[in-house]
């Protein structure tokens, strides 16, 4: 489902590791995060951040297991295999949804089959809604958590023009909406902060709330990103930096403690 060009980083790390580390470094110590299905990159990023620069970071595995610290990441990010070491198993209706609505959980990451320049996502249909070319799973909690959670992160392991589109076929989950102050005008907190892809890292231009290149992965050019992106990519003032290389310590922790079985590679 992607037309992304192959990227071979010139680093001693793989693209999954580069993405996890880039995501991880963006997370502050007061992050209180949770995850949904098939979210290996975010799960590894949360775990890595907690073991490096953000020791007080909260991660609720599957939105349920608060402060989980499992020995390995298994084949599902909703499985109880991920819940080892938790201090609390929260109940979804009474606890999770209250914490999410009150922004007690302040951080969530999602992605869609399509994403637009404002960080809105589509995971419902490709093609016309009522006679779709592809019926996708549905937005699940994206329409909810996109509205409730102030710090939204997006990621994509398939950066190509079919994923990053000018216009979504359906808006299943809210990013910055129509841009500008649209989100605030709905009374909703925060919005998307970063989008970490297989080619680059986007942030969001503060006024328009459109994706803007924040850094290029090694070996990727601005033109590579633009040609893999269906909307006009905003550029920062000055030269676009290269995504910072993971430290040896980060890589060691990621490979040996956070995700020794390499579950993060399931998304690639």
């Amino acid at each position: 489902m992607t037309g992304a060009p192959a990227v071979v980083p010139s680093y001693s790390c793989t693209i999954d590791e580069l993405m996890v580390v880039a995501f991880s470094r963006a997370l502050a110590n007061d992050t209180r995060a949770f995850n949904g299905a098939a979210s290996f990159v975010p799960v590894c990023a949360y775990r890595l951040a907690r073991r490096t620069h953000a020791p007080e970071l909260v991660w609720a595995a599957s939105s349920i297991a608060v402060d989980a610290d499992p020995a390995v990441v298994g084949s599902s990010t909703l499985s109880d295999e991920l819940w080892g070491g938790a201090s609390m198993l929260a109940n979804s209706p009474a606890d999770f949804w209250t914490y999410a609505q009150g922004a007690r959980y302040n951080t969530f990451a999602f992605r869609g089959a399509q994403m637009d320049a404002y960080g809105n996502v589509n995971n419902s249909v490709i093609g016309p809604y009522h006679s779709p070319k592809v019926r996708l799973p549905g937005g699940g909690g994206m329409a909810d958590l996109g509205c409730m959670i102030p710090r939204i992160y997006l990621w994509s392991t398939t950066h190509g023009p079919r994923t990053f589109v000018e216009r979504l076929d359906f808006r299943s989950g809210l990013g910055w909406g129509d841009g500008g102050d649209h989100r605030a005008s709905l009374g909703l907190p925060g919005g998307p902060r970063l989008c970490v892809t297989s080619l680059c890292v986007f942030d969001f231009e503060p006024e328009t709330k459109r994706m803007r290149l924040a850094s290029l992965h090694p070996g990727v050019s601005v033109e590579d990103v633009q040609s893999a992106t269906g909307f006009e990519v905003l550029l920062p003032a000055g030269e676009v930096p290269i995504t910072a290389q993971p430290s040896a310590e980060e890589l060691h922790i990621l490979r040996t403690e956070v995700d020794p079985s390499g579950a993060r590679r399931r998304e690639f």
Partner: protein, 282 residues
């Protein structure tokens, strides 16, 4: 459970769906069901494959990283089954409005997305404006459910039921909303098991209308800590969906054909043992 009924299925994604019960619906040749499932997968796909479903009311139907739900996908693309799509929380709010006999439940979920507009015609969701603050919200109207079916670890003969180590997913929302509820249980236990630890009970008997013993009844979804989902079954299922002939054989041999649920488990190499299901495809 007459044809045309609205049935809500418990579980979340690859966890704790009442699969043994779903297979009984398949074998009973049900038709025209409306299936409510907040976050679902295999349970919906079986019912759609059996031609039992005219409408799916859900937030998500997939096999997570293991793929799309093939029959669900195809039936909706062909217009044979309607996907009445909500988000998780919008669906929970509709269930809560029903359970609490409220005209609606308000939420900010769905604002700014295309989901509420899908339901403007039917009126099941309405975007409204708070009169005092001017803040918009989505009014989620009650969702009537004829029967909820949930899978638990233990139940007694009167209907008291519990999930180990506690109820974590959203099954209580469908039980609370439904006119009647059916519990399938890994084990039927004495009432004394509940009175010994009343703080661990998940449902009181007056919320449960029928109890069925169904050891390993969530297979191939998980019922942790007892057993995990069966990756191998999912992979084989998705592979078989590549051709109608393959799927027909798979369906007959591993899902619909075996006489009993124990036979289904045996056909999938997942017979009831003390351990977790690991792999398990034959």
């Amino acid at each position: 459970m007459p044809d045309g009924a609205t049935i809500a299925l418990g579980g979340l994604s690859m966890n704790s769906a009442p699969m043994a019960f779903v297979r009984e619906l398949v074998r009973a040749d049900k038709r025209d069901l409306t299936v409510v499932a907040i976050v679902a997968g295999m349970c919906v796909d079986w019912l759609v494959a059996a031609g039992a479903v005219s409408r799916v009311v859900a937030g998500l139907v997939s096999f997570e990283g293991l793929g799309l739900a093939p029959h669900f996908r195809r039936a909706v693309e062909r217009g044979e089954t309607t996907m009445e799509e909500y988000s998780e929380h919008l669906l929970i709010c509709r269930l809560q409005a029903q359970a609490r006999r409220l005209p609606f439940m308000p939420t900010v979920a769905g604002l700014g997305t295309d989901v509420p507009a899908l339901h403007a015609g039917s009126g099941t969701l309405r975007i409204e404006t708070d009169t005092a603050t001017g803040r918009p919200y989505v009014a989620c109207t009650p969702l009537a459910v004829d029967v909820a079916v949930v899978h638990v670890h233990e139940a007694d003969a009167t209907g008291n039921a519990r999930v180990h180590p506690k109820l974590i997913w959203m099954d209580s929302e469908i039980v609370n909303a439904a006119d009647r509820s059916v519990v399938t249980a890994e084990r039927i236990v004495d009432n004394a098991s509940f009175t010994a630890e009343p703080h661990r009970s998940s449902y009181p008997r007056f919320m449960v209308d029928a109890v069925c013993a169904a050891p390993r009844g969530a297979y191939p979804t998980s019922c942790f800590p007892d057993y995990g989902h069966d990756d191998g079954f999912y992979a084989d299922y998705v592979a078989a969906c590549g051709s109608p002939a393959d799927f027909g054989a798979f369906w007959e041999r591993r899902i619909a054909g075996p006489e009993t649920w124990d036979d289904v488990l045996a056909a999938n190499g997942a017979a009831v043992t003390d351990g977790r299901v690991a792999g398990g495809s034959t």
